[in-house]
């Protein structure tokens, strides 16, 4: 399948210095939202704008942006959405190998393959073919990679609307051979203890080897959708609570077309709602250390309806229909070490204390990445905007949801952890944290000269030395990042990746 796109290019204004180890490109996936905040569309469904920032080192250096709008007319008056299901709206995940990008949605649709140097889409990876009864597919946002990075793995399945919920069917594990571009599919057989396919959606995947065998782990999000299409009216509605997330483990065998799934022990028992993004250290081919975000958020829902204070959307000016859902409470970061001899779990979870901001918090973890030597872990946390938590979602989780009278605004945060202990790397000068930071970030450079790049369309690009988040060394901005024409703005992207110049 092919995708339609259009693109623009322009320069950013750079203040500071672009270090030499950052010669390459930063790529991020932005979505698009109507400035008219009464115009409803789900956050999954927003159109995708892929942004590539080419970094030319120097003082100040140069940054050139290229923006590719995918299927730009979908959902606009020019193409009224008679058919509500799109092939691809890659507004979330980024998977890169060499000069190829596979960009993905949060939940719906199929990955879009993009030629990075040409900045053009090449194909849509949809081996599962929708039909009249299963008109949409779900795919993994963040792929697993074999240890030699030759193979990428993701899940894809068909989605079917039932009476009150959406159910996955024909679950498949897909492998892409990056040398040949060929795909292989296996049918996944759900584990008996997690066979309810209403929540069989998988945000992230990871690969590991153990005892000479090859495995893929799939973070089962467990999002339970009431409706495959967007709600016809953005009104309050009953919410079917998510079940606790878990991790599916699949052993890869070449001589079988079906793969039996087992559950990684100890995850479901943590009792949090939604596993999402991850990073993994699977080096050594003897198990893995998995770092994953565990949200207390019903990620299958979107922001609409009255908030927890009973205020209607019209009275909440920060509201825009279909925006990213707010958490119902603070989440956690998980470190899971699996070796043949033992498994161990560590977590970081923390409320926000305004009197102790140096301790950080774990409100709505978004992004997570190890440094090049896998000694330090960087995580971004979205914080909390109390007026944007819908009442009907909070009601579905009476035991978990925050007390509206005690909660206040929690600022976004980027924090650096010790990857072994999962403790923030405290120091007096606060070089390990940065509040009010955009969610999208990536580690860039090399293992000797390592940098953290953060990005939002409004704030622009900030570059820090990885060991000092208290001092920006480069800041680059452009107003052309912020909008799509005059009608739409681009909210903060969630993820960004760095592609080193070859």
């Amino acid at each position: 399948m092919q995708a339609v796109s259009e693109s623009i290019r322009f320069d950013l204004y750079v203040r500071g210095e672009i270090p030499f180890s950052l010669s390459g490109s930063l790529v991020t996936t932005a979505s698009r939202r109507d400035k008219d905040r009464t115009a409803f569309s789900r956050w999954h469904d927003s159109q995708a704008d892929l942004i590539r920032l080419d970094l030319i080192p120097g003082k100040p250096g140069q940054i050139r942006a290229r923006i590719m709008s995918v299927d730009p007319q979908w959902g606009t008056p020019k193409r009224v959405v008679h058919q509500p299901f799109y092939a691809t709206q890659p507004n979330h995940g980024l998977n890169i190998h060499g000069d190829t990008l596979w960009a993905t949605n949060l939940l719906f649709g199929a990955p879009l393959e993009v030629d990075i140097p040409q900045w053009k889409p090449t194909r849509i990876l949809r081996p599962m073919e929708p039909d009249a009864t299963s008109p949409q597919v779900s795919s993994t946002s963040h792929f697993a990679w074999s240890l030699d990075h030759r193979y990428a793995f993701y899940h894809q399945s068909l989605l079917t609307q039932e009476d009150s919920t959406v159910r996955a069917k024909a679950l498949a594990l897909v492998r892409i051979d990056t040398r040949t571009g060929k795909e292989r599919l296996w049918t996944l057989l759900a584990p008996a203890e997690d066979s309810d396919l209403r929540g069989a959606n998988f945000h992230s995947a990871f690969y590991f080897e153990e005892g000479g065998r090859k495995y893929v782990g799939l973070l089962r999000t467990g999002a339970i959708l009431e409706s495959l299409a967007a709600h016809p009216t953005p009104a309050e509605h009953p919410v079917i609570p998510m079940t606790a997330s878990c991790i599916w483990i699949v052993e890869i065998t070449e001589d079988s077309s079906e793969l039996q799934v087992s559950l990684l022990p100890g995850i479901r028992e943590l009792g949090y709602l939604a596993l999402s993004h991850l990073d993994v250290d699977a080096s050594g081919a003897n198990g893995f250390i998995l770092y994953a975000n565990f949200k207390q958020a019903d990620v299958s829902e979107e922001t609409h309806g009255s908030n927890i204070y009973g205020e209607p959307p019209a009275d909440v000016s920060e509201h825009y229909s279909g925006m990213t859902v707010e958490a119902i409470n603070f989440g956690m970061v998980l470190r899971y070490e699996k070796r043949e001899s033992k498994n161990s779990i560590r977590v970081f979870k923390r409320a926000y204390d305004p009197g102790l901001t140096s301790r950080g918090h774990s409100w709505l973890p978004i992004n997570i990445q190890l440094d090049y030597r896998r000694k330090r872990l960087f995580c971004s946390f979205s914080g909390f905007r109390p007026r944007l938590l819908p009442r009907h979602i909070a009601r579905a989780y009476p035991e978990m949801a925050v007390d509206p009278l005690k909660i206040r605004y929690v600022p976004p945060l980027l924090m650096r952890f010790d990857a072994d202990t999962l403790l923030p790397q405290y120091d007096k000068d606060r070089t390990y944290l940065s509040y009010t930071e955009p969610m999208a970030f990536c580690i860039a450079g090399n293992d000797l000269h390592e940098y953290v790049c953060t990005f939002s369309t409004e704030t622009g690009l900030r570059i820090y030395r990885a060991d000092d988040l208290s001092r920006v060394i480069c800041h680059a901005v452009s107003p052309l990042l912020m909008n799509w024409k005059d009608t739409h703005f681009r909210p903060d992207p969630a993820h960004m990746v760095f592609a080193q110049s070859s």
Binding site: Y13, V316, S317, P354, G355, L356, T357, P386, R408, T436
Partner: protein, 279 residues
């Protein structure tokens, strides 16, 4: 912020300075955590920007903003803080810029908007005592000295701007008839504030942080450029565009009008951050 101690005079001055210095040293020694220095917490939030009318002029090299800011406050004296590039020039300019642009656009500026007209009587005031803070220590010292205090989450916004190499400018303002009633804050309008800095791109202003009184900000923002542009405001819809004359040059204009939310909002009747409070 509302300044609970706007004047520091006489022999007490040196005592306040010494005490404030000690407070800031304790805060810094405590990694800027307020828990052991709770007196730094602002006692209440009682000042906000209610509306702003801005003309942004970009000639390809320089960004110039002319503004009319409408503030509300409960108390006798306030300060308005914001980050600016360190090479910016900040001054009070003549008031005619906004009037001239509105005349050509056949507009009354903010007064075109019913939401603005509903605010009621607004007193014309002038900013005074312009100050620049280069470090977090300077900024906190000033806020503590004047018993304005701070909220940790708001302070982090300034920390991030300083980390990026910006300075924080502060202007004081005061009403002739102070209000003590949060439901009826004194409304003040200051016209003519101008900030100018080199930039080859158009740079918009950050959203104001919630100050406890106005959850939203009413905007009329007009962008003037020498060349036609499709640059749009991050959130505001485009109201109209065309050509006009300004300072004897032809400019393209784009006017954006609407309402935007403050940053850091909380629920109705929820008090701001305070000591021994976690969530």
């Amino acid at each position: 912020m509302a300044l609970r101690r706007p004047s520091v005079e006489g022999p007490d001055f040196s005592n306040f300075i010494r005490q404030t210095n000690e407070t800031v040293q304790r805060l810094e020694a405590n990694s800027w955590d307020f828990d052991k220095v709770p007196e730094v917490f602002a006692k209440d939030a009682a000042a906000d920007v209610f509306a702003k009318e801005i003309v942004h002029v970009h000639d390809g090299k320089t960004m110039t903003r002319y503004g009319r800011l409408v503030m509300g406050g409960v108390g006798t004296q306030f300060n308005l803080m914001g980050p600016i590039p360190p090479n910016a020039a900040l001054r009070v300019s003549h008031r005619g810029v906004l009037e001239e642009i509105n005349r050509q656009l056949k507009s009354k500026g903010l007064n075109d908007l019913p939401e603005f007209r509903k605010l009621g009587k607004i007193e014309e005031i002038e900013f005074f005592n312009y100050e620049i803070f280069y470090t977090l220590r300077d900024l906190v010292f000033w806020l503590v000295l004047h018993d304005a205090g701070s909220f940790p989450s708001s302070l982090e916004v300034m920390v991030r701007h300083m980390a990026a190499g910006n300075v924080v400018q502060s202007n004081r303002y005061a009403p002739s008839k102070p209000s003590k009633d949060r439901r009826k804050p004194a409304l003040m309008s200051a016209t003519g504030l101008m900030v100018q800095f080199p930039s080859p791109v158009i740079e918009w202003m950050d959203k104001p942080i919630f100050g406890g009184l106005a959850k939203d900000t009413i905007h009329v923002e007009t962008l003037l450029t020498l060349k036609a542009t499709d640059v749009s405001h991050p959130y505001l819809p485009l109201q109209k565009e065309g050509k006009l004359r300004f300072n004897d040059k032809k400019y393209y204009y784009r006017r954006f009008v609407g309402i935007t939310p403050k940053d850091g909002l909380r629920g109705p009747n929820i008090a701001p951050e305070k000591p021994a409070n976690h969530f």
